[in-house]
Protein backbone atom coordinates (compact mmCIF):
# COMPACT_ATOMS: atom_id res chain seq x y z
CA UNK A 1 0.00 0.00 0.00
CA UNK A 2 1.30 3.42 -0.86
CA UNK A 3 2.16 5.57 2.10
CA UNK A 4 1.85 8.79 0.17
CA UNK A 5 -1.69 9.21 1.33
CA UNK A 6 -0.54 9.95 4.89
CA UNK A 7 2.27 12.22 3.78
CA UNK A 8 0.17 15.40 3.79
CA UNK A 9 -0.41 14.85 7.49
CA UNK A 10 2.93 13.48 8.56
CA UNK A 11 5.14 15.88 6.66
CA UNK A 12 3.84 19.06 8.30
CA UNK A 13 3.52 17.23 11.59
CA UNK A 14 7.24 16.59 11.54
CA UNK A 15 8.20 19.86 9.97
CA UNK A 16 6.22 22.06 12.31
CA UNK A 17 7.92 21.03 15.53
CA UNK A 18 11.30 21.32 13.88
CA UNK A 19 10.45 24.84 12.77
CA UNK A 20 9.00 25.73 16.12
CA UNK A 21 11.73 24.36 18.28
CA UNK A 22 14.87 24.24 16.25
CA UNK A 23 14.45 27.23 13.99
CA UNK A 24 12.52 29.50 16.28
CA UNK A 25 15.21 32.12 16.48
CA UNK A 26 16.04 32.11 12.80
CA UNK A 27 13.22 33.41 10.68
CA UNK A 28 14.99 32.86 7.39
CA UNK A 29 15.66 29.25 8.21
CA UNK A 30 12.07 28.82 9.23
CA UNK A 31 10.93 30.44 6.01
CA UNK A 32 13.08 28.13 3.94
CA UNK A 33 11.81 25.08 5.71
CA UNK A 34 8.24 26.25 5.50
CA UNK A 35 8.55 26.90 1.80
CA UNK A 36 10.24 23.61 1.12
CA UNK A 37 7.57 21.80 3.07
CA UNK A 38 4.70 23.61 1.42
CA UNK A 39 6.08 23.04 -2.04
CA UNK A 40 6.61 19.38 -1.28
CA UNK A 41 3.05 19.22 0.04
CA UNK A 42 1.71 20.79 -3.11
CA UNK A 43 3.63 18.26 -5.18
CA UNK A 44 2.36 15.38 -3.07
CA UNK A 45 -1.20 16.63 -3.21
CA UNK A 46 -0.93 17.02 -6.94
CA UNK A 47 0.32 13.46 -7.18
CA UNK A 48 -2.55 12.24 -5.04
CA UNK A 49 -5.02 14.13 -7.22
CA UNK A 50 -3.63 12.45 -10.26
CA UNK A 51 -3.68 9.12 -8.51
CA UNK A 52 -7.29 9.56 -7.50
CA UNK A 53 -8.32 10.49 -11.01
CA UNK A 54 -8.73 6.86 -11.97
CA UNK A 55 -11.77 6.61 -9.75
CA UNK A 56 -10.51 4.05 -7.32
CA UNK A 57 -11.18 4.89 -3.70
CA UNK A 58 -8.11 4.10 -1.69
CA UNK A 59 -8.28 3.27 1.98
CA UNK A 60 -5.25 3.36 4.27
CA UNK A 61 -5.57 1.45 7.49
CA UNK A 62 -3.60 3.23 10.15
CA UNK A 63 -1.84 0.98 12.58
CA UNK A 64 -2.72 -1.87 10.25
CA UNK A 65 -6.01 -2.35 12.06
CA UNK A 66 -8.86 -3.37 9.84
CA UNK A 67 -11.77 -1.05 9.39
CA UNK A 68 -13.92 -0.23 11.21
CA UNK A 69 -11.83 -0.98 14.29
CA UNK A 70 -8.89 1.22 13.57
CA UNK A 71 -8.85 4.57 11.85
CA UNK A 72 -8.69 4.68 8.09
CA UNK A 73 -7.70 7.38 5.69
CA UNK A 74 -9.68 7.48 2.51
CA UNK A 75 -8.55 9.05 -0.68
CA UNK A 76 -11.08 9.62 -3.36
CA UNK A 77 -11.41 12.35 -5.93
CA UNK A 78 -13.14 14.71 -3.56
CA UNK A 79 -10.55 14.49 -0.85
CA UNK A 80 -7.78 14.74 -3.44
CA UNK A 81 -9.26 17.93 -4.82
CA UNK A 82 -9.55 19.39 -1.36
CA UNK A 83 -5.93 18.53 -0.67
CA UNK A 84 -4.71 20.08 -3.86
CA UNK A 85 -6.76 23.20 -3.37
CA UNK A 86 -5.48 23.60 0.15
CA UNK A 87 -1.88 23.15 -0.80
CA UNK A 88 -2.07 25.60 -3.67
CA UNK A 89 -3.76 28.14 -1.47
CA UNK A 90 -1.16 27.54 1.18
CA UNK A 91 1.65 28.23 -1.21
CA UNK A 92 0.10 31.48 -2.35
CA UNK A 93 -0.57 32.61 1.19
CA UNK A 94 2.88 31.66 2.34
CA UNK A 95 4.58 33.73 -0.32
CA UNK A 96 2.46 36.67 0.66
CA UNK A 97 3.09 36.27 4.35
CA UNK A 98 6.81 36.12 3.82
CA UNK A 99 7.01 38.85 1.21
CA UNK A 100 5.05 41.30 3.32
CA UNK A 101 6.85 40.32 6.48
CA UNK A 102 3.67 39.24 8.20
CA UNK A 103 5.27 36.06 9.38
CA UNK A 104 7.80 37.98 11.43
CA UNK A 105 5.24 40.06 13.31
CA UNK A 106 4.65 37.43 15.94
CA UNK A 107 6.03 34.16 17.11
CA UNK A 108 5.68 30.75 15.55
CA UNK A 109 3.90 31.74 12.37
CA UNK A 110 5.46 29.04 10.26
CA UNK A 111 5.01 26.30 12.79
CA UNK A 112 1.37 27.21 13.27
CA UNK A 113 1.00 27.44 9.53
CA UNK A 114 2.28 23.92 9.04
CA UNK A 115 0.14 22.62 11.86
CA UNK A 116 -2.80 24.37 10.31
CA UNK A 117 -2.16 22.59 7.05
CA UNK A 118 -1.78 19.32 8.83
CA UNK A 119 -5.15 19.75 10.49
CA UNK A 120 -6.87 20.63 7.25
CA UNK A 121 -5.29 17.77 5.36
CA UNK A 122 -6.16 15.39 8.15
CA UNK A 123 -9.77 16.46 8.09
CA UNK A 124 -9.99 15.93 4.35
CA UNK A 125 -8.39 12.53 4.46
CA UNK A 126 -9.97 10.84 7.39
CA UNK A 127 -12.53 8.14 7.05
CA UNK A 128 -13.47 8.16 10.70
CA UNK A 129 -16.05 10.40 12.29
CA UNK A 130 -14.27 10.89 15.58
CA UNK A 131 -10.96 11.40 13.89
CA UNK A 132 -12.65 14.12 11.90
CA UNK A 133 -13.38 15.79 15.21
CA UNK A 134 -9.76 15.47 16.25
CA UNK A 135 -8.48 17.07 13.09
CA UNK A 136 -11.13 19.74 13.26
CA UNK A 137 -9.65 20.58 16.60
CA UNK A 138 -6.12 20.53 15.23
CA UNK A 139 -7.00 22.92 12.49
CA UNK A 140 -9.05 25.06 14.81
CA UNK A 141 -6.47 25.46 17.48
CA UNK A 142 -3.86 26.25 14.88
CA UNK A 143 -6.25 28.79 13.45
CA UNK A 144 -6.64 30.37 16.87
CA UNK A 145 -2.94 30.91 16.96
CA UNK A 146 -2.87 32.22 13.43
CA UNK A 147 -5.89 34.42 14.03
CA UNK A 148 -4.24 36.46 16.74
CA UNK A 149 -0.83 36.43 15.15
CA UNK A 150 0.66 39.82 15.79
CA UNK A 151 -1.73 40.64 18.60
CA UNK A 152 -3.72 43.82 19.08
CA UNK A 153 -6.81 44.70 21.04
CA UNK A 154 -9.62 44.20 18.58
CA UNK A 155 -7.97 41.17 17.09
CA UNK A 156 -7.77 39.56 20.48
CA UNK A 157 -11.38 40.34 21.26
CA UNK A 158 -12.43 38.91 17.94
CA UNK A 159 -10.14 35.96 18.50
CA UNK A 160 -11.76 35.32 21.85
CA UNK A 161 -15.17 35.23 20.26
CA UNK A 162 -13.88 32.98 17.54
CA UNK A 163 -12.55 30.54 20.11
CA UNK A 164 -15.71 30.63 22.19
CA UNK A 165 -17.93 30.00 19.22
CA UNK A 166 -15.83 27.12 18.05
CA UNK A 167 -15.61 25.59 21.48
CA UNK A 168 -19.37 25.64 21.63
CA UNK A 169 -19.34 24.01 18.21
CA UNK A 170 -16.83 21.39 19.29
CA UNK A 171 -19.00 20.55 22.26
CA UNK A 172 -21.92 19.97 19.97
CA UNK A 173 -19.68 17.89 17.74
CA UNK A 174 -18.95 15.60 20.65
CA UNK A 175 -22.61 15.37 21.58
CA UNK A 176 -23.29 14.41 17.99
CA UNK A 177 -20.55 11.81 17.86
CA UNK A 178 -21.68 10.38 21.16
CA UNK A 179 -25.22 10.06 19.98
CA UNK A 180 -24.02 8.52 16.77
CA UNK A 181 -21.91 5.94 18.55
CA UNK A 182 -24.66 5.24 21.02
CA UNK A 183 -27.04 4.56 18.19
CA UNK A 184 -24.81 2.66 15.80
CA UNK A 185 -21.88 1.39 17.80
CA UNK A 186 -19.32 2.52 15.30
CA UNK A 187 -17.33 5.56 14.24
CA UNK A 188 -15.99 4.57 10.88
CA UNK A 189 -17.77 6.56 8.19
CA UNK A 190 -18.17 3.64 5.84
CA UNK A 191 -19.35 1.39 8.62
CA UNK A 192 -21.71 4.11 9.76
CA UNK A 193 -23.09 4.30 6.27
CA UNK A 194 -23.72 0.59 6.23
CA UNK A 195 -25.30 0.55 9.62
CA UNK A 196 -27.44 3.58 9.01
CA UNK A 197 -28.68 2.09 5.78
CA UNK A 198 -29.62 -1.07 7.55
CA UNK A 199 -31.17 0.72 10.49
CA UNK A 200 -34.69 -0.37 11.40
CA UNK A 201 -37.12 2.48 10.93
CA UNK A 202 -38.36 2.28 14.49
CA UNK A 203 -34.90 3.12 15.80
CA UNK A 204 -34.33 6.20 13.75
CA UNK A 205 -34.78 8.92 16.33
CA UNK A 206 -31.26 8.89 17.74
CA UNK A 207 -29.56 8.75 14.38
CA UNK A 208 -31.74 11.54 13.13
CA UNK A 209 -30.78 13.68 16.09
CA UNK A 210 -27.12 12.91 15.50
CA UNK A 211 -27.36 13.73 11.82
CA UNK A 212 -28.92 17.07 12.63
CA UNK A 213 -26.33 17.90 15.25
CA UNK A 214 -23.56 17.07 12.85
CA UNK A 215 -25.08 19.28 10.23
CA UNK A 216 -25.21 22.19 12.65
CA UNK A 217 -21.61 21.58 13.66
CA UNK A 218 -20.47 21.65 10.08
CA UNK A 219 -22.71 24.59 9.39
CA UNK A 220 -20.80 26.59 11.98
CA UNK A 221 -17.58 25.95 10.13
CA UNK A 222 -19.24 26.62 6.82
CA UNK A 223 -20.69 29.85 8.23
CA UNK A 224 -24.28 29.05 7.40
CA UNK A 225 -27.22 30.89 8.88
CA UNK A 226 -27.94 31.04 11.77
CA UNK A 227 -24.47 30.13 12.96
CA UNK A 228 -22.53 32.41 10.63
CA UNK A 229 -22.22 35.26 13.09
CA UNK A 230 -18.68 34.49 14.08
CA UNK A 231 -17.23 34.88 10.63
CA UNK A 232 -17.23 38.61 9.87
CA UNK A 233 -15.44 39.63 13.04
CA UNK A 234 -12.98 36.79 12.72
CA UNK A 235 -12.06 37.29 9.12
CA UNK A 236 -12.09 41.05 9.45
CA UNK A 237 -9.66 41.02 12.30
CA UNK A 238 -7.42 38.16 11.36
CA UNK A 239 -4.13 39.06 9.75
CA UNK A 240 -4.89 39.24 6.06
CA UNK A 241 -2.76 36.26 5.00
CA UNK A 242 -4.47 34.27 7.70
CA UNK A 243 -7.87 35.42 6.51
CA UNK A 244 -6.80 34.32 3.07
CA UNK A 245 -5.84 30.91 4.39
CA UNK A 246 -9.12 30.80 6.27
CA UNK A 247 -10.83 30.82 2.91
CA UNK A 248 -10.35 27.08 3.00
CA UNK A 249 -11.65 26.74 6.54
CA UNK A 250 -15.25 27.36 5.65
CA UNK A 251 -14.79 24.77 2.97
CA UNK A 252 -13.82 22.23 5.55
CA UNK A 253 -17.31 22.58 6.96
CA UNK A 254 -18.81 22.35 3.53
CA UNK A 255 -16.64 19.34 2.75
CA UNK A 256 -17.80 17.61 5.90
CA UNK A 257 -21.43 18.22 5.03
CA UNK A 258 -20.84 16.91 1.54
CA UNK A 259 -18.99 13.87 2.81
CA UNK A 260 -21.12 12.89 5.75
CA UNK A 261 -24.43 13.82 4.30
CA UNK A 262 -23.90 11.90 1.12
CA UNK A 263 -22.03 8.81 2.25
CA UNK A 264 -23.68 8.28 5.62
CA UNK A 265 -26.84 10.32 5.78
CA UNK A 266 -27.51 10.32 2.10
CA UNK A 267 -30.75 11.82 0.88
CA UNK A 268 -31.95 8.37 -0.11
CA UNK A 269 -31.65 6.90 3.37
CA UNK A 270 -35.30 6.52 4.33
CA UNK A 271 -34.94 6.84 8.09
CA UNK A 272 -33.34 10.22 7.67
CA UNK A 273 -35.99 11.77 5.52
CA UNK A 274 -36.49 15.40 6.27
CA UNK A 275 -33.52 15.75 8.57
CA UNK A 276 -31.04 17.57 6.43
CA UNK A 277 -32.64 17.94 3.05
CA UNK A 278 -35.49 20.03 4.35
CA UNK A 279 -33.32 22.38 6.32
CA UNK A 280 -30.13 22.87 4.47
CA UNK A 281 -31.68 24.55 1.48
CA UNK A 282 -33.54 27.35 3.27
CA UNK A 283 -30.54 27.84 5.46
CA UNK A 284 -28.28 28.18 2.46
CA UNK A 285 -30.67 30.58 0.79
CA UNK A 286 -30.77 32.82 3.83
CA UNK A 287 -27.01 32.64 4.00
CA UNK A 288 -26.78 33.95 0.48
CA UNK A 289 -29.00 36.82 1.48
CA UNK A 290 -27.01 37.59 4.60
CA UNK A 291 -23.80 37.62 2.66
CA UNK A 292 -25.17 39.85 -0.06
CA UNK A 293 -26.83 42.26 2.31
CA UNK A 294 -23.66 42.35 4.34
CA UNK A 295 -21.58 43.22 1.30
CA UNK A 296 -23.93 45.97 0.32
CA UNK A 297 -24.19 47.37 3.81
CA UNK A 298 -20.55 47.12 4.72
CA UNK A 299 -18.89 50.33 5.72
CA UNK A 300 -15.46 48.79 5.98
CA UNK A 301 -13.44 46.76 3.57
CA UNK A 302 -12.63 43.72 5.68
CA UNK A 303 -16.24 43.07 6.73
CA UNK A 304 -17.25 43.55 3.13
CA UNK A 305 -14.89 40.80 2.07
CA UNK A 306 -15.99 38.68 5.00
CA UNK A 307 -19.61 38.94 4.06
CA UNK A 308 -18.77 38.11 0.51
CA UNK A 309 -17.29 34.90 1.85
CA UNK A 310 -20.55 34.18 3.65
CA UNK A 311 -22.47 34.85 0.49
CA UNK A 312 -20.27 32.55 -1.50
CA UNK A 313 -20.67 29.83 1.09
CA UNK A 314 -24.41 30.27 0.82
CA UNK A 315 -24.27 30.01 -2.94
CA UNK A 316 -22.20 26.90 -2.75
CA UNK A 317 -24.40 25.33 -0.12
CA UNK A 318 -27.52 25.98 -2.17
CA UNK A 319 -26.02 23.63 -4.69
CA UNK A 320 -24.93 21.17 -2.05
CA UNK A 321 -28.36 21.20 -0.44
CA UNK A 322 -29.99 19.98 -3.61
CA UNK A 323 -28.06 16.73 -3.18
CA UNK A 324 -27.77 15.64 -6.76
CA UNK A 325 -24.53 14.67 -8.47
CA UNK A 326 -24.86 17.55 -10.88
CA UNK A 327 -25.43 20.19 -8.23
CA UNK A 328 -22.66 18.76 -6.11
CA UNK A 329 -20.27 18.87 -9.02
CA UNK A 330 -21.24 22.48 -9.59
CA UNK A 331 -20.82 23.21 -5.90
CA UNK A 332 -17.33 21.76 -5.96
CA UNK A 333 -16.32 23.89 -8.89
CA UNK A 334 -17.72 26.94 -7.19
CA UNK A 335 -15.94 25.99 -4.01
CA UNK A 336 -12.56 25.89 -5.70
CA UNK A 337 -13.34 29.22 -7.24
CA UNK A 338 -14.59 30.94 -4.14
CA UNK A 339 -11.66 29.75 -2.09
CA UNK A 340 -9.17 31.27 -4.46
CA UNK A 341 -11.09 34.45 -5.03
CA UNK A 342 -11.57 35.07 -1.32
CA UNK A 343 -7.87 34.50 -0.84
CA UNK A 344 -7.01 36.90 -3.63
CA UNK A 345 -9.18 39.61 -2.13
CA UNK A 346 -7.87 39.23 1.38
CA UNK A 347 -4.30 39.30 0.17
CA UNK A 348 -5.03 42.36 -1.88
CA UNK A 349 -6.77 44.00 1.04
CA UNK A 350 -3.60 43.46 3.00
CA UNK A 351 -1.52 45.23 0.38
CA UNK A 352 -3.97 48.11 0.22
CA UNK A 353 -4.60 48.51 3.91
CA UNK A 354 -0.92 48.51 4.67
CA UNK A 355 -0.90 51.77 2.76
CA UNK A 356 -4.07 53.29 4.11
CA UNK A 357 -5.46 54.52 7.37
CA UNK A 358 -7.86 51.82 8.41
CA UNK A 359 -10.26 49.94 6.25
CA UNK A 360 -13.24 52.26 6.43
CA UNK A 361 -14.72 52.74 3.02
CA UNK A 362 -14.08 56.38 2.45
CA UNK A 363 -11.84 58.36 0.26
CA UNK A 364 -8.29 58.99 1.31
CA UNK A 365 -5.45 60.41 -0.59
CA UNK A 366 -4.51 57.98 -3.30
CA UNK A 367 -1.81 55.63 -2.15
CA UNK A 368 1.14 54.49 -4.11
CA UNK A 369 0.21 52.08 -6.85
CA UNK A 370 -3.42 53.15 -6.70
CA UNK A 371 -3.94 52.08 -10.28
CA UNK A 372 -2.44 48.66 -9.75
CA UNK A 373 -4.48 48.02 -6.65
CA UNK A 374 -7.61 49.30 -8.34
CA UNK A 375 -7.08 46.90 -11.21
CA UNK A 376 -6.44 43.99 -8.88
CA UNK A 377 -9.45 44.88 -6.77
CA UNK A 378 -11.57 45.07 -9.87
CA UNK A 379 -10.41 41.62 -10.88
CA UNK A 380 -10.92 40.24 -7.41
CA UNK A 381 -14.37 41.74 -7.17
CA UNK A 382 -15.26 40.26 -10.52
CA UNK A 383 -14.13 36.93 -9.20
CA UNK A 384 -16.07 37.17 -5.97
CA UNK A 385 -19.22 38.58 -7.51
CA UNK A 386 -19.16 35.87 -10.13
CA UNK A 387 -18.73 37.94 -13.23
CA UNK A 388 -16.94 36.83 -16.35
CA UNK A 389 -14.29 36.19 -17.46
CA UNK A 390 -13.17 34.64 -14.16
CA UNK A 391 -14.32 31.29 -12.95
CA UNK A 392 -17.03 32.56 -10.63
CA UNK A 393 -19.33 33.19 -13.50
CA UNK A 394 -18.94 29.67 -14.78
CA UNK A 395 -19.38 28.35 -11.28
CA UNK A 396 -22.59 30.26 -10.90
CA UNK A 397 -23.82 29.11 -14.28
CA UNK A 398 -22.99 25.52 -13.36
CA UNK A 399 -24.92 25.82 -10.14
CA UNK A 400 -27.93 27.50 -11.69
CA UNK A 401 -27.95 25.09 -14.58
CA UNK A 402 -27.81 22.11 -12.28
CA UNK A 403 -30.45 23.60 -10.03
CA UNK A 404 -32.92 23.62 -12.90
CA UNK A 405 -33.50 19.94 -12.40
CA UNK A 406 -34.47 20.43 -8.77
CA UNK A 407 -37.68 21.59 -7.14
CA UNK A 408 -35.94 24.50 -5.48
CA UNK A 409 -34.95 26.04 -8.76
CA UNK A 410 -36.89 29.26 -8.45
CA UNK A 411 -35.74 30.04 -4.96
CA UNK A 412 -32.17 29.26 -5.87
CA UNK A 413 -32.30 31.44 -8.95
CA UNK A 414 -33.80 34.35 -7.09
CA UNK A 415 -31.40 34.11 -4.18
CA UNK A 416 -28.24 33.59 -6.15
CA UNK A 417 -28.95 36.15 -8.83
CA UNK A 418 -30.24 38.82 -6.48
CA UNK A 419 -27.34 38.04 -4.21
CA UNK A 420 -24.98 38.57 -7.10
CA UNK A 421 -26.58 41.89 -7.89
CA UNK A 422 -26.19 43.19 -4.37
CA UNK A 423 -22.66 41.91 -4.27
CA UNK A 424 -21.80 43.61 -7.52
CA UNK A 425 -23.29 46.88 -6.37
CA UNK A 426 -21.54 46.58 -3.03
CA UNK A 427 -18.17 45.90 -4.57
CA UNK A 428 -18.64 48.64 -7.14
CA UNK A 429 -19.39 51.15 -4.42
CA UNK A 430 -16.46 50.02 -2.35
CA UNK A 431 -13.99 49.97 -5.19
CA UNK A 432 -15.06 53.31 -6.53
CA UNK A 433 -14.73 54.94 -3.12
CA UNK A 434 -11.44 53.30 -2.30
CA UNK A 435 -9.65 53.73 -5.56
CA UNK A 436 -11.51 56.21 -7.71
CA UNK A 437 -12.85 58.80 -5.35
CA UNK A 438 -9.42 59.16 -3.82
CA UNK A 439 -8.06 60.42 -7.11
CA UNK A 440 -10.41 63.38 -6.80
CA UNK A 441 -8.73 64.54 -3.61
CA UNK A 442 -6.01 67.02 -4.23
CA UNK A 443 -2.88 66.16 -2.28
CA UNK A 444 -2.72 69.58 -0.68
CA UNK A 445 -6.31 69.50 0.47
CA UNK A 446 -6.85 69.11 4.18
CA UNK A 447 -8.67 66.10 5.46
CA UNK A 448 -12.28 66.13 4.30
CA UNK A 449 -13.37 64.98 7.72
CA UNK A 450 -10.97 66.59 10.11
CA UNK A 451 -13.05 65.96 13.19
CA UNK A 452 -13.20 62.20 12.96
CA UNK A 453 -10.00 62.01 14.79
CA UNK A 454 -7.97 60.07 12.35
CA UNK A 455 -4.94 61.43 10.66
CA UNK A 456 -5.43 61.47 6.95
CA UNK A 457 -1.84 61.10 6.07
CA UNK A 458 0.41 58.37 7.23
CA UNK A 459 3.43 59.49 9.09
CA UNK A 460 5.74 57.86 6.64
CA UNK A 461 4.69 57.45 3.08
CA UNK A 462 4.34 53.70 2.74
CA UNK A 463 6.63 51.92 0.39
CA UNK A 464 5.22 50.52 -2.82
CA UNK A 465 4.50 46.84 -2.82
CA UNK A 466 7.30 44.78 -4.28
CA UNK A 467 6.89 42.22 -6.97
CA UNK A 468 6.93 39.35 -4.52
CA UNK A 469 4.24 41.01 -2.43
CA UNK A 470 1.91 41.46 -5.34
CA UNK A 471 2.72 38.14 -6.97
CA UNK A 472 0.53 35.98 -4.72
CA UNK A 473 -2.52 38.13 -5.30
CA UNK A 474 -1.90 38.06 -9.01
CA UNK A 475 -1.29 34.35 -8.87
CA UNK A 476 -4.57 33.73 -7.09
CA UNK A 477 -6.38 35.80 -9.69
CA UNK A 478 -4.53 34.02 -12.46
CA UNK A 479 -5.67 30.74 -10.98
CA UNK A 480 -9.23 31.99 -11.27
CA UNK A 481 -8.56 32.68 -14.91
CA UNK A 482 -6.98 29.28 -15.35
CA UNK A 483 -9.92 27.70 -13.63
CA UNK A 484 -12.19 29.36 -16.16
CA UNK A 485 -10.10 28.41 -19.15
CA UNK A 486 -9.69 24.83 -18.04
CA UNK A 487 -13.22 24.62 -16.72
CA UNK A 488 -13.87 21.60 -18.89
CA UNK A 489 -11.27 19.21 -17.50
CA UNK A 490 -11.63 20.59 -13.99
CA UNK A 491 -15.35 20.19 -14.13
CA UNK A 492 -14.97 16.70 -15.50
CA UNK A 493 -12.84 15.76 -12.54
CA UNK A 494 -15.23 17.33 -10.09
CA UNK A 495 -18.20 15.75 -11.79
CA UNK A 496 -16.51 12.39 -11.43
CA UNK A 497 -15.83 13.24 -7.80
CA UNK A 498 -19.50 13.97 -7.26
CA UNK A 499 -20.55 10.76 -8.96
CA UNK A 500 -18.14 8.89 -6.75
CA UNK A 501 -19.77 10.48 -3.72
CA UNK A 502 -23.26 9.44 -4.67
CA UNK A 503 -22.16 5.92 -5.38
CA UNK A 504 -21.29 5.31 -1.76
CA UNK A 505 -20.94 1.57 -2.34
CA UNK A 506 -17.50 2.24 -3.81
CA UNK A 507 -16.47 4.11 -0.70
CA UNK A 508 -17.90 1.49 1.59
CA UNK A 509 -16.33 -1.43 -0.16
CA UNK A 510 -12.99 0.33 -0.40
CA UNK A 511 -12.97 0.84 3.34
CA UNK A 512 -14.82 -2.19 4.62
CA UNK A 513 -13.80 -4.67 1.98
CA UNK A 514 -10.40 -5.24 3.43
CA UNK A 515 -11.54 -5.50 6.99
CA UNK A 516 -13.71 -8.59 6.89
CA UNK A 517 -11.45 -10.76 9.00
CA UNK A 518 -12.49 -8.77 12.09
Amino acid sequence: MSHWIIAPVVLPAILAPIIAFVMRYDISLARTASFAGTIALAAICFGLTVAAAGGETVSYELGNWPAPFGIVLVLDRLSAVMLLLTSVLALVVLVHAVATGWDARGRHFHALFQFQLMGIFGAFLTGDAFNLFVFFEVLLIASYGMMIHGGGKVRLQAGLQYVVMNLAGSTLFLFALGTLYAATGTLNIADLAQRVQGLPVEDAALVRAAAMMLMIVFAIKAALFPVQFWLPATYSNAPAPVAALFAIMTKVGAYAIIRVHTVVFGPDVPVLSGVVGDWLMPVALVTVAIGAVGVLGASRLMPLLSFSVIGSMGTMMVAVAAFTPATTAAALYYMVHSTLSAAALFLLADLVLARRNGDRLRAQLPTVQNGLFAALFFAGAIGMAGMPPLSGFLGKLLILDAMQATPQMTAAFVAILLGSLLTIVGFARAGSVLFWKSTGLAPAEPAPNPDDGEPQELADAPAPAGVMSVAPTVAALALLGGLAIFAGPVSAYLGAAADQLYDSSGYISAVMGQGTEG
Partner: protein
Amino acid sequence: MELLVASAVGVLTASGVYLILRLRAFPVILGLALLSYAVNVFLFSTGRLAINAPPVLQAYGDASYSDPLPQALVLTAIVISFGMTAVLVMFALGAYLEAEDDSINMTETDETETTGKEGEA
Protein backbone atom coordinates in the same frame (compact mmCIF):
# COMPACT_ATOMS: atom_id res chain seq x y z
CA MET B 1 -28.12 5.03 37.93
CA GLU B 2 -28.90 5.78 34.31
CA LEU B 3 -31.31 8.46 35.38
CA LEU B 4 -28.66 10.00 37.59
CA VAL B 5 -26.09 10.10 34.85
CA ALA B 6 -28.51 11.47 32.29
CA SER B 7 -29.83 14.12 34.60
CA ALA B 8 -26.32 15.05 35.71
CA VAL B 9 -25.38 15.57 32.09
CA GLY B 10 -28.50 17.63 31.71
CA VAL B 11 -27.82 19.81 34.72
CA LEU B 12 -24.21 20.33 33.73
CA THR B 13 -25.28 21.24 30.23
CA ALA B 14 -27.94 23.63 31.46
CA SER B 15 -25.52 25.30 33.85
CA GLY B 16 -22.90 25.52 31.15
CA VAL B 17 -25.29 26.96 28.61
CA TYR B 18 -26.54 29.53 31.08
CA LEU B 19 -23.01 30.63 31.84
CA ILE B 20 -21.87 30.86 28.23
CA LEU B 21 -24.70 33.28 27.66
CA ARG B 22 -23.26 35.72 30.22
CA LEU B 23 -21.62 38.93 29.15
CA ARG B 24 -18.13 38.50 30.58
CA ALA B 25 -15.36 36.27 29.43
CA PHE B 26 -14.81 34.54 32.74
CA PRO B 27 -18.28 33.08 33.25
CA VAL B 28 -18.20 32.01 29.62
CA ILE B 29 -15.02 30.11 30.33
CA LEU B 30 -16.65 28.51 33.32
CA GLY B 31 -19.65 27.66 31.20
CA LEU B 32 -17.51 26.02 28.58
CA ALA B 33 -15.74 24.06 31.29
CA LEU B 34 -19.09 22.81 32.56
CA LEU B 35 -20.17 21.97 29.05
CA SER B 36 -16.99 20.06 28.57
CA TYR B 37 -17.72 18.05 31.72
CA ALA B 38 -21.21 17.43 30.45
CA VAL B 39 -20.14 16.25 27.06
CA ASN B 40 -17.42 14.06 28.46
CA VAL B 41 -19.84 12.27 30.72
CA PHE B 42 -22.31 12.06 27.87
CA LEU B 43 -19.75 10.59 25.54
CA PHE B 44 -18.55 8.23 28.21
CA SER B 45 -22.05 7.01 28.87
CA THR B 46 -22.60 6.08 25.24
CA GLY B 47 -20.79 2.85 26.08
CA ARG B 48 -23.62 2.24 28.57
CA LEU B 49 -23.03 2.00 32.28
CA ALA B 50 -21.30 -0.81 34.09
CA ILE B 51 -20.17 -1.21 37.67
CA ASN B 52 -16.83 -2.72 38.57
CA ALA B 53 -16.03 -3.76 35.04
CA PRO B 54 -13.06 -1.62 34.08
CA PRO B 55 -11.76 -2.55 30.66
CA VAL B 56 -8.53 -3.90 32.03
CA LEU B 57 -8.18 -7.46 30.88
CA GLN B 58 -7.87 -10.07 33.57
CA ALA B 59 -5.90 -13.21 33.05
CA TYR B 60 -8.51 -15.59 34.48
CA GLY B 61 -12.20 -16.04 34.17
CA ASP B 62 -14.42 -14.39 31.71
CA ALA B 63 -14.95 -11.07 33.32
CA SER B 64 -17.25 -8.58 31.73
CA TYR B 65 -15.85 -5.25 30.70
CA SER B 66 -17.29 -1.87 30.17
CA ASP B 67 -17.03 -0.46 26.66
CA PRO B 68 -13.46 0.82 26.33
CA LEU B 69 -13.97 2.78 23.15
CA PRO B 70 -15.99 5.68 24.53
CA GLN B 71 -13.51 5.91 27.35
CA ALA B 72 -10.69 6.31 24.91
CA LEU B 73 -12.69 8.89 23.03
CA VAL B 74 -13.40 10.81 26.21
CA LEU B 75 -9.73 10.77 27.07
CA THR B 76 -8.96 12.32 23.73
CA ALA B 77 -11.77 14.80 24.20
CA ILE B 78 -10.58 15.74 27.67
CA VAL B 79 -7.09 16.41 26.46
CA ILE B 80 -8.26 18.42 23.53
CA SER B 81 -10.64 20.46 25.58
CA PHE B 82 -7.87 21.10 28.06
CA GLY B 83 -5.71 22.54 25.30
CA MET B 84 -8.63 24.57 24.06
CA THR B 85 -9.48 25.85 27.49
CA ALA B 86 -5.90 26.89 28.06
CA VAL B 87 -5.88 28.84 24.83
CA LEU B 88 -9.24 30.34 25.67
CA VAL B 89 -8.06 31.47 29.07
CA MET B 90 -5.03 33.04 27.53
CA PHE B 91 -7.12 34.78 24.89
CA ALA B 92 -9.46 36.10 27.52
CA LEU B 93 -6.54 37.36 29.53
CA GLY B 94 -4.94 38.92 26.49
CA ALA B 95 -8.16 40.59 25.43
CA TYR B 96 -8.66 41.92 28.92
CA LEU B 97 -5.14 43.25 29.21
CA GLU B 98 -5.38 44.93 25.84
CA ALA B 99 -8.84 46.37 26.27
CA GLU B 100 -9.13 46.77 30.04
CA ASP B 101 -12.54 45.26 29.71
CA ASP B 102 -13.49 41.65 30.01
CA SER B 103 -16.77 41.93 28.17
CA ILE B 104 -17.09 39.06 25.80
CA ASN B 105 -19.11 41.14 23.40
CA MET B 106 -17.31 43.51 21.11
CA THR B 107 -18.61 46.92 21.94
CA GLU B 108 -16.67 49.04 19.54
CA THR B 109 -16.60 48.48 15.86
CA ASP B 110 -13.14 49.79 15.50
CA GLU B 111 -11.26 50.08 12.32
CA THR B 112 -9.55 46.88 11.51
CA GLU B 113 -6.04 46.71 12.73
CA THR B 114 -5.44 43.83 10.39
CA THR B 115 -2.57 45.34 8.70
CA GLY B 116 0.21 46.97 10.46
CA LYS B 117 1.88 49.97 9.01
CA GLU B 118 5.19 48.27 8.89
CA GLY B 119 5.24 48.13 5.15
CA GLU B 120 7.17 45.51 3.33
CA ALA B 121 9.82 43.24 4.65
